[in-house]
Each structure stands twice: as structure tokens, then as C-alpha cells.
């Protein structure tokens, strides 16, 4: 799928925009934007309310005055898990990106017989419902003595991240011209030299897209977190947030502030680097 925008020449004849005109389109967009931001409004305001307003009955009210107690309580409960999530996400993202770049280069630029079948067989790994591998996975990790540890979780995310990162990089390298490789090969460069000295320096955008995508994917994982790591002190933030939300002795606004904390890192990445995020996402559409 091509993502290059064609330059938009002004339409010569009157095919109007959908709806009655630009104004109604803008109004519709504004209304939809407000609707879409409603849950964000609830999370943000809840975290900033004083304790008297801190229950679900006052859900829609703006804070009477700013009070950070909700956020502070959520931070106290969740900061160890935020740390776990970071310790899980960073190495797993880095490792999958490097593996994906190598695989993607081979699949895009060094054609061999059967490559497509192998690639498709690999891609199936990102589409399976992970429920179908959980029991053998847990037993395998127990055998490796990695069950219940963050390292085990990192390993799991690396393995199951290989298909998507391979896909992102294969699509990325695919659009680089084949001629540069041919030229280097005529000059006698080996495949590894071509990768290290020619492809890698051109790969920064690919790494950014892949890095953002994997950071978000792994940060947001829940199923592996809850099955591979039973110890609450070792669990990632998504699992801890779910536990917090199910605990009825915890105040409502603390839970909402917790949701805000769990959402903050990926939201920040998204807001700062949204452009690349879109590229990673359409890369998931295989072509």
C-alpha cells in the first residue's frame, strides 16, 4: 500500500465534499473529536481532583481546585511496575529491531527459492491467538528457569516480536533501490559488508518506525504479563493497573490516575512521534 500523498490540485468541477459543505464537515469533525476525547477527559480530570470529588458520581465535573493526591497515590502503588515495564520494553524493543532489520534485509534484498513461503510461515506467528501457546510457553520457561522473571518476559516479547519487526523492515528495505546493492556487489562487497556499511546507515527511519511500534506493542501487552509473571512485584504496569482497578478498597480517582500513568509513556511517544507511528501501523497491513 502506498502512503505517498499525491499533490492535491484544486478540483476543477464541482464534486463537493461529503455533507453540505466545508462548514458542516468541520462541525462534524469537531463533534467527533470531542466524543473521542471524552475518556481522556475523565482520566485527566480524575487525577487532578481533590478527595471530596474523587468518586465516580462526580465523574464529569471539572476539578474544583487542582489537587495531585490521586496521581501521588497511584504513583506510590504503581511506580515499581512502571519500572518493570521499562526494564521489559527497552531491551525487548532494541533486540527485536535488530533481528527484524537483519531478517528484513535478507528477505527483501537477497532473494532465494522458498523465501516467500518461509516469510509467510514466520508471519503467521504474529496472527495466532497467543492463548494457544501459553501452556507450553510456561513449561518451556520453567525448564529454562526463567518463569516468573522479567528476563523471561523479555525473551517472550523478543520471540513473538520477530514476525512484525521482520515485516516492517522487509517493507522498508523493499523500497530502497536494488541498484545500490548490485553496484556494491559488482565492487566485490560481501552481503554482510553491504548490510553493515550500506543498508544500516540508511535504516534510521526504519528503526524509528519499528522502535515506536514495538515500544507501544510490548508496553501495552497484558496476556503475557499476567501468565508469565505471577509475582505482583515483578509484573508490568498493565497487569498492576488491572489489579488496582479490581481492588475495591482503592479510591476511584486513584484508579483513573493509574490509568493515566499506564497510558502516559505510549501516549507521549505517540504525541511526539505520531508521524512515524502511522507508518508502523500501515506496515501491519502486510503490503
Amino acid at each position: 500500500m502506498s502512503t505517498t500523498p499525491t499533490t492535491l490540485a484544486p478540483p476543477r468541477r464541482r464534486i463537493r465534499r461529503p455533507g453540505a459543505g466545508p462548514l458542516s464537515g468541520a462541525i462534524a469533525l469537531a463533534v467527533l473529536a470531542v466524543l473521542f476525547l471524552t475518556p481522556v477527559y475523565i482520566m485527566v480530570t480524575a487525577g487532578l481532583k481533590p478527595p471530596v470529588q474523587a468518586d465516580a458520581v462526580h465523574m464529569w465535573e471539572l476539578p474544583k481546585h487542582l489537587d495531585f493526591s490521586g496521581i501521588r497515590q497511584a504513583w506510590e502503588k504503581l511506580s515499581p511496575n512502571l519500572r518493570n515495564s521499562l526494564l521489559m520494553v527497552l531491551p525487548a524493543t532494541a533486540a527485536t529491531a535488530v533481528i527484524g532489520a537483519l531478517n528484513g534485509y535478507v528477505l527483501a534484498k537477497l532473494p532465494f527459492r522458498g523465501a516467500k513461503v518461509l516469510f509467510a510461515a514466520m508471519l503467521l506467528g504474529m496472527f495466532i491467538p497467543y492463548q494457544v501457546i501459553l501452556v507450553p510457553l510456561v513449561r518451556f520457561l520453567q525448564w529454562l528457569d526463567l518463569y516468573g522473571t522479567l528476563q523471561g518476559l523479555v525473551l517472550v516479547h523478543i520471540v513473538y516480536g520477530i514476525p512484525i519487526t521482520t515485516l516492517i523492515f522487509r517493507n522498508y528495505y523493499d523500497q530502497l533501490p536494488h541498484e545500490i546493492i548490485e553496484a556494491a556487489r559488482v565492487d566485490g562487497a560481501s552481503n554482510s559488508a553491504i548490510f553493515l556499511r550500506l543498508m544500516l546507515p540508511l535504516s534510521l527511519p526504519g528503526f524509528v518506525v519499528c522502535g515506536i511500534f514495538q515500544f507501544t506493542n510490548i508496553w501495552n501487552d497484558f496476556l503475557f504479563g499476567i501468565t508469565v509473571v505471577p509475582d505482583p512485584t515483578q509484573q508490568p504496569i498493565t497487569v498492576a493497573l488491572n489489579n488496582l482497578a479490581g481492588n475495591f478498597s482503592v479510591q476511584w480517582n486513584t484508579v483513573m490516575a493509574g490509568a493515566l500513568l499506564a497510558a502516559a509513556p505510549t501516549a507521549l511517544v505517540y504525541i511526539l512521534l505520531g508521524r512515524f507511528f502511522v507508518h508502523g501501523l500501515t506496515a501491519g497491513s502486510v503490503k
Binding site: 465516580a56 464529569w60 514466520m122 506467528g125 559488482v186 497484558f222 496476556l223 493509574g258 505510549t266 505520531g274
Partner: protein, 343 residues
């Protein structure tokens, strides 16, 4: 393109002495890098994907219940499947995942389409609007579930707003055990094993808030894919259509929609497989729900395996989930990867 002018790697090897098997050594030099790179990944996939799926299939026909692994086969081998398909809970799960998938795909794709057309044709603020609508996609399903649960808790959230506009008894939302549009009578003779069906076939009302939350999170994904296709649409199509005197509606119906059709299919497949394996969102937002009104196979597998320790039943349900998503994904991979035109 500037990369073309970049000097190629200057590595120059002296000519090698002739080898006894020139063709074989040539083959090895050509493919050695690729083999060394791909082999570890392929081994990992063979173990962690294919090997593990095979293991789960084996567990699903075994007697394994409880902490002690027991892989001896049941007699007859399909016994666990037979029992599972007769359980009202699993029947409800299959009903729910079907209803959920249909409603969610429809809502997410329609909203995504409307958003894409509005954003594509907006005069100002395209990037900002696209950013707002795609934002939920960056969040965890757990965050989505925790927040939307409160919006659809009857004593608060949406019902507070309904009360504000004069509706004193709002819907029961996620606590509603009712199943609307019961079609059990009509479907019973049509479905295989219809007389075993013990649940009401229809739309569990408690599922609707989950559909809304899921669409909130993923309509932006659909929109982003549609926007990419819209911006690749040649301007001549619009001009030709207006020369032929097509109005706005006819232009969108006869030109834009057919142009988007391949992308719509891709989005349906990708969201469809997300829907079939859904777990996080439902688990965090409603759990199994009143009378299993919102239970899905993903939750069933998790609870059978890790809570009830009925490993064979959990494995059997997970194999059913796998087969359902494979039925969607394998043809898709076949068409888009294996039969892809040579590049």
C-alpha cells in the same frame, strides 16, 4: 534518488584461487549470510509457534487436569471437545465472539470510513484531527477497559448524562443480562448439533458497551488505512467523474468506495483477527459478565487453564480459537505474501 550517488562499499578482494567445486562455493558465498541470519529466527518460530501449537493440540486430547501433567490420551480422543461444546458457557462464548465480531467490525469500519472522508476533505487541521482519532490506538486495552467500565456502569457515567437530559432510568449497560432478538428457535434446526444449544442465541446487551469501547480504540486504525488509500487516489478520477456529471453522493458510491474496497477487506481481516482473539479489553472492562453475557473464548481459555487447572479443556478452547483465526489469516497471508507479484 540521492542514495544512488552514494559511493558503493569500496571493499576489494584479490581474485581467489579456483576452488574444486566452483558452483557450490559460489552458492554458499551467495547464501551464507542469509542462512546464518534467518536460521535462528526460523528455529525460534518452529519451536515457539508451530511446536507449541502442536503441544497444545496434544494437551487438548489428553486427560491433563490438575497440577500434574498427564499427556495420556482420552478415549475417544475428541472427548474434551465434545464436553466443551456442550457446556453452556462455551456455547455462550461462541455466540458472544460471533456477535461481537459482527458488531465491532461494522461499527469500527463505518466510523473509520466517516472519519477518513471527513479528515481527507477537511480544509484545515487534518493532521490534528487524524492525531485525535488515532490516539486511542496507542493505548493499552487495559486502560481503555478500566476507563470505559466506569462510563458504562449504570450508577454513573453515561447514565449521569442521561439523567441530566431527563432520562431517570438509563440502560443497565454492562450489568444487563438480557439477550435481545432471540433467534434460537429459528437457528436450532440449521446449526450443526443445534439441539445441544442451551443458550439463547441473540445479541447480549451487555456486549454493546464493549463493542463501543473497542471501536473507540480501533476506528482510528481503520481511518489511518483508509486515509493512506485516499491520498493515493489519482485526482483524474474526480475530474472524470465530474465531467460525466456525477454528484457528490454518486462519486463517493461509484468511485471512492470501489477504490477503497481492497483496503476495507484488509482492515476487516486485521480487525477480525483482533476480535476473535480478544481478551484484555473484555477482561478489564466486564469480565465474564452477568450469565456469561460478555464471556469470550479468550477469557474461557485463561480461566480454564490458569484458574481451574483444566488444562485439556483450556487447550481445546485455544485450539478452536487458533483454527478460527487461521481460517481468516492463512488465506490472507497466502494471497498477500506467497502469491504476491514478483518484486
Amino acid at each position: 534518488m540521492s542514495v544512488l550517488t552514494r559511493p558503493a562499499t569500496p571493499a576489494h578482494h584479490p581474485a581467489k584461487p579456483p576452488t574444486p567445486h566452483p558452483s557450490r562455493s559460489h552458492w554458499w558465498r551467495r547464501h551464507c549470510f542469509g542462512i546464518v541470519v534467518l536460521t535462528p529466527s526460523l528455529i525460534l518460530m518452529a519451536i515457539f509457534v508451530y511446536g507449541f501449537i502442536g503441544y497444545s493440540m496434544r494437551v487438548s486430547v489428553s486427560k491433563w487436569q490438575g497440577l500434574q501433567p498427564d499427556l495420556s490420551p482420552t478415549d475417544p480422543p475428541q472427548q474434551t471437545y465434545d464436553q466443551m461444546f456442550r457446556t453452556p458457557r462455551f456455547q455462550a462464548d461462541l455466540r458472544n465472539v460471533t456477535v461481537f465480531t459482527v458488531l465491532f467490525l461494522t461499527l469500527a469500519v463505518v466510523v473509520g470510513l466517516v472519519l477518513a472522508l471527513l479528515v481527507h476533505n477537511a480544509l484545515v487541521g487534518r493532521t490534528a484531527f487524524r492525531g485525535v482519532f488515532l490516539f486511542p490506538y496507542s493505548l493499552s486495552f487495559i486502560v481503555t477497559g478500566v476507563v470505559w467500565r466506569w462510563i458504562f456502569t449504570p450508577s454513573t457515567g453515561a447514565n449521569l448524562i442521561l439523567k441530566g437530559v431527563g432520562v431517570s432510568h438509563g440502560p443497565k449497560w454492562i450489568t444487563d443480562p438480557a439477550v435481545a432478538g432471540n433467534v434460537s428457535q429459528a437457528l436450532e434446526p440449521l446449526l450443526p448439533g443445534g439441539h445441544y444449544i442451551q443458550v439463547q442465541l441473540g445479541i447480549p446487551l451487555a456486549l454493546i458497551p464493549v463493542v463501543i469501547a473497542a471501536s473507540w480504540q480501533l476506528a482510528g486504525f481503520a481511518m489511518a488505512n483508509f486515509l493512506a488509500a485516499l491520498s493515493a487516489m489519482p485526482e483524474e478520477l474526480r475530474e472524470a467523474a465530474s465531467l460525466d456529471g456525477a454528484g457528490t453522493l454518486r462519486y463517493h458510491w461509484h468511485i471512492v468506495l470501489p477504490w477503497l474496497r481492497p483496503v476495507i477487506v484488509v482492515v476487516l481481516i486485521l480487525l477480525g483477527h483482533v476480535s476473535l482473539k480478544s481478551f484484555d479489553l473484555v477482561y478489564a472492562m466486564v469480565g465474564e459478565g452477568p450469565g456469561f453475557a460478555t464471556d469470550v473464548p479468550g477469557i474461557f481459555v485463561f480461566e480454564q487453564t490458569f484458574r481451574a487447572l483444566r488444562y485439556n479443556t483450556g487447550a481445546a478452547a485455544s485450539v478452536v480459537m487458533f483454527l478460527l483465526s487461521a481460517a481468516v489469516i492463512v488465506p490472507y497471508l497466502y494471497r498477500s505474501v506467497i502469491r504476491e507479484k514478483s518484486r
